[in-house]
């Protein structure tokens, strides 16, 4: 297939995944900030939201204060924020238009309808909490519909694999970023001053990767920070864990390698990261330093993006 087509499919999937992640982050932040301060402490949760979205620096060029109104607007509707939900949907639509021939009609319909709704219903943003909740649901449903129609209607060939790679790479990045911002509340008990207020921080993290229910099924335990870290980093049954994303990335890259009859640096690099995740346990990670581990992962992950681009997309 054309390199440009593969590139568009890959980025299309990334934009949709990113939009969903932003919607989840806002949703989780709204819940935490709705609690009385005694339960969540003095940290500014809206600041954390900006940090996990990776747009804090650009935000403060426009706004002075990270409060609900400003942050929701910047993450959701801002035209100036290149990765606002609005711009993600716009970019996804533009990408879809350039690769229409590689999309199934169901996938096109999902993106095009979302784009039409964005303009018809959400062009002025939201004015009430209720509206905002509707908007966030709309974004999450768009992503689910897109994912579902890709899964159910695409041929299992390179087009599908490039698209899936976009999803998993973006997902891994998002999960890692949450961990990066929140790692301090996940340190083992003896290392930080734990208290009841952390409970809400922990559930908020799980909620933003839609893993709150999953946690209870996997561990049958009350929320424990090291188990949360274990779930998000090493447990490959959780679709948004780093281990699961890398299991999938390795598989997709292998499928491409087989179809094209050759392997390359992207396959090797992805396998390297996967192996490291497979052979780690939480004890080692905590000893090595969670923060260092996560930062290393983020660097490695974006390095994989660069290698894939060089090997296939240009």
């Amino acid at each position: 297939m054309l390199s440009r087509t593969a590139e568009n499919l890959y980025w299309l999937a990334r934009y949709v995944e990113r939009a969903e992640y932003l919607a989840r982050t806002i949703d989780a932040t709204l819940r935490v900030t709705a609690l009385p301060a005694a339960y969540v402490g003095k940290t500014n949760e809206w600041d954390s939201a900006l940090l996990t979205a990776g747009v804090a620096a650009s935000f403060y060029q426009t706004y002075e204060e990270a409060n609900e109104h400003n942050v929701v607007d910047y993450l959701s509707f801002s035209v100036d924020n290149p990765s606002s939900i609005r711009n993600c949907i716009e970019a996804a639509r533009l990408n879809s238009r350039s690769v229409r021939t590689a999309l199934t009609s169901e996938m096109w319909d999902t993106i095009n309808s979302a784009w039409i709704e964005l303009q018809a219903v959400w062009s002025k943003g939201t004015s009430t909490r209720e509206d905002l909740a509707k908007f966030l649901r709309f974004v999450q449903e768009t992503s689910l519909r897109f994912d579902g129609s890709a899964y159910r209607t695409m041929l299992r060939n390179d087009a599908y694999w490039f698209s899936r790679m976009g999803v998993h790479l973006e997902r891994a990045d998002n999960t890692a970023r949450i961990l990066d911002v929140k790692y301090h509340v996940l340190l083992p008990e003896e290392e930080h001053v734990g208290g009841p207020l952390d409970f809400y921080q922990w559930s908020s993290i799980l909620r933003s990767v839609s893993a709150l229910t999953a946690y209870h099924w996997v561990y049958r335990e009350t929320l424990k920070p090291w188990l949360i870290a274990d779930l998000l980093i090493l447990n490959d049954t959780l679709p948004r864990s780093l281990a699961s994303c890398y299991g999938n990335l390795v598989r997709n890259l292998d499928q491409i390698g087989v179809a094209y009859g050759r392997q390359g640096p992207a396959q090797r690099h992805a396998r390297g990261i996967r192996n490291r995740l497979e052979h780690s346990n939480m004890n080692d990670i905590f000893q090595h330093g969670v923060h260092e581990f996560i930062q290393e992962f983020i660097t490695d992950n974006s390095r994989l993006g660069e290698i894939i681009t060089k090997q296939y997309l240009i």
Partner: protein, 472 residues
């Protein structure tokens, strides 16, 4: 202006036979049902994303071309005559192009004046002596046809460069069949859906000799911001070929390759929807970012076929148009089956004088214009516009031709106040491959939605209709 020929109603209250069944159906169908399906059609167009961009508007908006649900119907007999005429016309266009870029018999015979060719910016000296496979220059032609009475088809314009609109012909039919299955059950409408197959086999048949047994065809688009982008992606999809932009192609050793995830892959035939000027920055406009550097040298080496060929503009130029009846006679020795609109060539002093005296009744067109831009429709223009045009004409008479205002035929159309006659034209698409010329029965009917308006171009507020050829 005379009363226009109506394609459904005969003056006096009778119906033309092709429309009898439609008229019965319209009588049985309540207006609300029609309106409901019209809205449904619009929704479908929007969801599928069948839009076009309008240049020159502040916001680069995507717009829908209004679709009128009342079909335009022709009898099989009428079509047979039209088809014969179209094939004749396109054969002559191809022979003319071959001649202009080789022997130039027609210039020696003084049928067409030299300066009209050599001083014409759309004449491409690069094509002199260049062989094109099977001598086909115009693989895809869109010939604009109008009717003014029951007996004649008149060619308004030959489009031999990158004619567009065929996706609307196909999508209009799809949507009509979805919305009005009952109406189709009552008619025998000749199908149009084999157009993509015909196009692909025509394109493959003209592959260069150096191509492999299964030639690779690609569609070259200027990109998502082009007004016809939807059509480009639609056709690439239907043909099962790659939709490429200039940056996807690269020329090496005079061969053309596309960049794929598996490395470079040779391309043999390019169905290009990029104008000559932008094809190759090394040969034509150096500022073009839409083209492929070196494409013309690969073309000259005979390693790539471009469809349509470079330089076909010289055949559909409005200044050449008026010579078409003579061109047909010269190459084929036959009387032209399709008529021409009588045309005054403003470059000739006698004609210019006449045009200047009668601006109020004439249609004046720029020789190099298209899409309905830069045109004067005398009877509909204000005094000031006419005077402004008069100045332009005096300054550069060779840039214009003039024609009488034709009473284009009308066809019943949905309007805010119910069904009413609106003016229509027709663009059938003529495909020429190595062995044969084919035309899918029908074409794109464009309709001027404003009462009395004669401008059918989508960029000027025109709409489209499904076109039915009855299989009798």
């Amino acid at each position: 202006m005379a009363v226009a020929f109506d394609e459904m109603n005969i003056p006096g209250g009778e119906l033309r036979p092709a429309y009898e069944e439609l008229a019965r159906w319209l009588k049985e169908t309540p207006p609300e049902a029609l309106e409901y399906r019209r809205q449904e059609a619009e929704l479908l167009f929007r969801r599928i994303g069948i839009t076009f961009a309008v240049y020159g508007e502040a916001e680069s908006t995507e717009r829908l071309i209004p679709f009128d649900v009342i079909p335009r119907i022709m009898s099989g007999k009428e079509w047979a005559l039209l088809e014969k005429g179209l094939k004749q016309r396109v054969r002559a266009l191809n022979m003319f192009l071959r001649d202009i870029y080789h022997g130039r018999d027609i210039l020696r015979a003084e049928i067409v004046p030299d300066d009209l060719i050599f001083q014409n910016p759309v004449f491409r000296p690069e094509m002199n002596g260049q062989q094109v496979p099977h001598d086909v220059y115009v693989h895809i032609a869109g010939i604009d046809i109008v009717r003014v009475d029951a007996n004649d088809f008149i060619v308004l314009e030959d489009n031999a460069r990158t004619p567009s609109g065929v996706s609307y012909m196909l999508e209009n039919r799809e949507i009509m069949m979805r919305l009005f299955p009952d109406l189709f059950a009552r008619h025998r409408v000749a199908p149009v859906e084999r157009y993509p197959d015909e196009l692909l086999s025509a394109l493959r048949s003209v592959a260069p000799q150096s191509a492999s047994g299964e030639p690779t065809v690609a569609l070259l688009t200027p990109g998502v911001y082009n007004s016809a982008y939807y059509e480009h992606s639609f056709l690439a999809d239907k043909l099962g070929i790659e939709l490429v932009e200039g940056r996807d192609l690269i020329v090496k050793n005079n061969e053309v390759f596309m960049r794929t995830t598996e490395g470079l892959k040779r391309v043999d035939v390019i169905y290009r929807r990029v104008d000559d000027d932008f094809l190759d920055p090394l040969t034509f406009r150096p500022d073009s970012v839409l083209g492929v550097p070196g494409l013309m040298s690969a073309y000259a080496a005979g390693n790539i076929t471009l469809a349509n060929a470079v330089g076909t503009g010289i055949a559909d130029d409005k200044a050449i148009y008026s010579y078409m009846p003579d061109i047909v006679k010269f190459y084929l020795g036959e009387e032209p089956i399709l008529k021409n609109v009588p045309t005054w060539r403003c470059r000739e002093p006698k004609d210019l004088a006449y045009v200047l005296d009668n601006l109020g009744e004439l249609v004046v067109k720029e020789v190099h214009g298209s899409g309905g831009y830069g045109m004067l429709i005398g009877p509909a223009a204000t005094k000031a516009t006419i005077e402004a045009f008069r100045e332009k004409l005096k300054r550069e008479p060779e840039g214009f031709i003039a024609q009488p205002t034709l009473a284009l035929s009308t066809c019943p159309t949905c309007t805010a106040s119910g069904l009413a006659p609106r003016h229509v034209d027709l663009r059938p698409f003529v495909l020429t491959g190595s062995k044969r010329t084919t035309i899918v029965p029908g074409g794109l009917t464009r309709v001027a939605l404003k009462e009395g308006s004669l401008v059918v171009n989508s960029s000027q507020g025109g709409g489209t209709k499904d076109t039915w050829i009855l299989d009798e």
